[in-house]
Symmetry: C3
Subunit: 255 residues, 3 copies
């Protein structure tokens, strides 16, 4: 699996635009992930905000360029915040991503996720267990494409290989490193990067590929010097901050 | 103070089992400690979850192999979550640890801790000030053993030397490093490691010793390269991830 | 811009007192910033606490040497906690700092900040956008001094150059590094350091200068070895922990 130069350049262009435009990304995310997500966004050049208060979140989302909806800590405050935030996003055309963390562990959370899918996320990013909880146990090769088509969204199914599907197109990304699963909130931070990309790239399919590919490349660079998951957690932030076109061209594995 | 090879091997065996079995540890912990605790558990090979919602926590605890109850941020949501979680733990035989953080600062929190002790923790892990708040100011040498016997639990009294007592047995552990007290949530993360050990070792007394000893050894390894508490915080995660039998045998100080 | 030796020695003296007295700093701060703020305080030698429960926060503030009030996540729990905490601070003479994060994004938060200013903060620390939201769009050179005089407080207006004004005196601090704006909660952690300084230095104006100057110097030291914002985040904690009089004398830029 390798990638044409053109795709590498699309990835590099998206990240160059994030750096130059500094898009605002409002994050409804779990309390475990808030700090790491904010630092990942700042490293990429985006400006995170995190407030959850129902009184204020409408104003924050209205002023944002993209919205992250992560279900990782699922409480009354966040459920209420999500309702207000999605109304503001719909009213002002703010693209948003759903990350239905751990829905395979809680039937109520899975039902909430199904309801939220109906409100028009630009992207749904999730792992295999979460996808199965959303759609049912059989996982045909074309299940992501079918789900994307049925719901008018992009599916980003992440794992050892990431699959991005929009119903017509499908890309597999082979970048990343095993240590990425040993740091909490790594997937949540990756979803936030997709949001930053959505803010600067109108084609949500390309934005999703760009973010996941750059994230995987940064993970590979970080693994070269990390001594374990502690140092890796910060090396990947440094790597994302320093990521350049040549590194992306040399490492991108997508087809 | 040194340790017999057999104890070092018990410590190493417990951590090998954590790595191979990847036990689920559900954590009710304070918001300051959530991220660091999750990263420490992941470094050891366990799988953390952190949700606090009363609607969901029963399902999470039922599917968990151990439960952490940390009182570090003591709010209405957590008080309610603890009640639901302890009922689920009792119903499904999930071992749990109580970490009564800062109860010496708040009479209400101390009373809550006393009530929770009555619900059957496998282990109570706390420092000297917290133990005094729980039991009264006089701190006789046999106070941990007495408390353990009276409440049918294990006491892990941590400090420069850690004391583990179950009423009949008593072990002192001399590992660790002064920088461990300069990183927030370090004790909370240590309590979470005890939970991971409880999930794979039926003798809660040995599980507690194994976790605290390995944690102290990792701290000593981390201190060899750290430049201060910032780098130490992540070096100890790397050290725990890389910890092996030879390191434990060479460094364990327990008697 | 350089600084007289005397000012460098005041900065060094304040930090020596923090290390020797280990003041307690209670922090009402946003969930994104809690961990990093606690680690920064511990590195300086202070003892952080973070509880927000209205039932307990009075006891924590009464036992504290300084209080931080940060509006970064503005929810019902924190609004209630702030009311109780400020009453306890007033009753026991605990100095406190207001950090009105992101008030330019939310009119309701700005109004809350104006109300809280009326309750007598020793210091208000904020950036230019936040200051404009508090006082109006025109930002005359003497606006900080005027605001300080009108409200009987110290204004610490932070940015590329930090301005500290108490109505009569004014100091500009030129220390710091661009990477400080690429790490979330860096400003929040800086405000917490001011609180630690307030706990050991009765002249709040000097305390504020000392904390911001030391923080900026630590940032410069950290930038010498950091590879990006990930490693910088922890290098600055190490640098603060290791900060000594010679480093402060060599680097302080204040006038």
């Amino acid at each position: 699996m390798h990638a044409p130069i053109e795709l590498a350049d699309i990835v590099a262009d998206v990240f160059a635009r994030i750096r130059s435009r500094a898009p605002r990304v409002h994050c409804i995310t779990n309390s475990v992930a808030q700090q790491y997500t904010a630092n990942m966004l700042l490293a990429a050049g985006a400006v995170p905000s995190m407030t959850l208060s129902s009184d204020e979140i409408g104003a924050f989302v209205t002023g944002a360029d993209a919205l992250l909806v992560n279900l990782g800590t699922f409480d009354a405050e966040r459920k209420s915040a999500i309702g207000v935030a999605l109304s503001a996003a719909a009213a002002h055309g703010v693209p948003w991503l759903l990350d239905p963390v751990f829905i395979e562990r809680s039937p109520e959370r899975a039902q909430f996720a199904r309801d939220v899918v109906g409100r028009g996320p630009a992207v749904v990013r999730l792992n295999g267990a979460e996808f199965a909880a959303l759609t049912g146990p059989e996982l045909a090769v074309d299940a992501p494409a079918r789900f994307a088509r049925d719901h008018g969204t992009i599916v980003a199914l992440t794992g050892a290989t990431d699959v991005v599907a929009d119903g017509k197109r499908r890309t597999e990304i082979g970048n990343g490193h095993a240590l990425m699963s040993r740091v909490t909130a790594m997937g949540c931070a990756g979803s936030a990067l997709v949001c930053a990309a959505l803010a600067v790239e109108a084609d949500a399919y390309l934005a999703t590929i760009a973010a996941l590919a750059a994230f995987g490349v940064a993970g590979e660079v970080a693994a070269q010097t990390a001594q374990g998951p502690g140092s890796f957690a910060f090396a990947i932030i440094d790597a994302l901050y320093n990521l350049d076109r040549a590194e992306i061209r040399a490492r991108l594995k997508a087809s």
